[in-house]
């Protein structure tokens, strides 16, 4: 599971076990993502999420999803977060981890 949004948001709260890569809205973030997954089998289940903004305004998840598909990954899922991570995950009492 990979968080593809902001590090400042990730450090406050993230899904336990998820990795931070860098915002996929930037080329640097996409490069980090490609580097992270390059050695993985293309059938590996990868779950992406962000939660920075409302789903239809998120600048990160689509570039990340597109990048993984372009690399040949066939089992990519994106966690749907309707409004933001705080409202749709943390406030609902789902598991949360903090820090780097």
């Amino acid at each position: 599971m990979i968080q593809v949004g902001s590090h400042v948001l990730y450090a406050q709260a993230h899904i336990p076990g998820s990795e931070y890569i860098g915002p996929a809205s930037s080329e640097a973030g996409l490069q980090q993502l490609r580097k992270r997954v390059e050695s993985l089998p293309r059938t590996k289940l990868i779950v992406l999420y962000c939660g920075c903004c409302p789903w239809d305004r998120c600048p990160n998840v689509k570039p990340a999803d597109d990048a993984l598909h372009a690399l040949g990954f066939t089992n990519v899922k994106v966690l749907y977060i309707a409004n933001n991570f705080g409202t749709n995950w943390v406030d609902k009492g789902y598991p949360v981890a903090k820090g780097e």
């Binding site: 948001l9 406050q12 939660g51 409004n83 705080g86």
Partner: protein
């Protein structure tokens, strides 16, 4: 006589309506009803100067958590520029807290959007002070007494901010 009674009753009802409306707390639906003191912080601006929130006590502060990559934030900022221009001399101070991972994109953004209010670089700790900034934009309206009166999660219409600002400006 019956007409006079009806008129008096209606008049009384109208008076009650307007009195209640004048005392209806604003922003309750998105507000903090306990009006806690806004947590103080000292954060750097993109050019390295420090800004202390408490130095703005006595002003109405609109504290906006945003980021350069956040589309809804980018839509709000021109309205904030307008509000700062319009109400700055009456005691409004807008402060932007950038939640970008570095100041690098913030400096050109500041110039491109003609921002006329200070911006500081927020951290995870800043976010935690304010109850967790786990989505953007999130903004707080702080009264002259340093207390938080409303919190808005997500992009908010400028007219809502203006109404709340005017109310707080007029409140000692």
């Amino acid at each position: 006589m019956a007409f006079a009674t009806i008129a008096l009753t209606l008049g009384a009802l109208v008076a009650v309506y307007f009195v209640r409306r004048a005392h209806t707390p604003i922003g309750v639906s998105s507000g903090t009803t306990n009006h806690q003191l806004a947590p103080d912080f000292a954060l750097p601006t993109p050019d390295g100067r420090d800004l202390q929130l408490s130095s703005y006590r006595g002003k109405v502060v609109l504290l906006d958590f945003w980021a350069t990559w956040c589309d809804p934030c980018r839509e709000e900022i021109p309205h904030f520029v307008d509000l700062q221009q319009k109400y700055g001399e009456r005691g409004l101070q807008i402060i932007g807290v950038s939640m970008d991972d570095s100041a690098e994109p913030v400096r050109p953004f500041y110039l491109r959007f003609h921002m006329n209010y200070p911006v500081v670089m927020g951290t995870a700790k800043t976010g935690e002070l304010y109850g967790g900034i786990l989505g953007l934009p999130i903004s707080f309206l702080i009264g002259r007494d340093g207390r938080i009166y409303t919190k808005h999660i997500g992009a908010t219409d400028a007219s809502v901010f203006e109404r709340e600002i005017k109310h707080l400006i007029e409140t000692p």
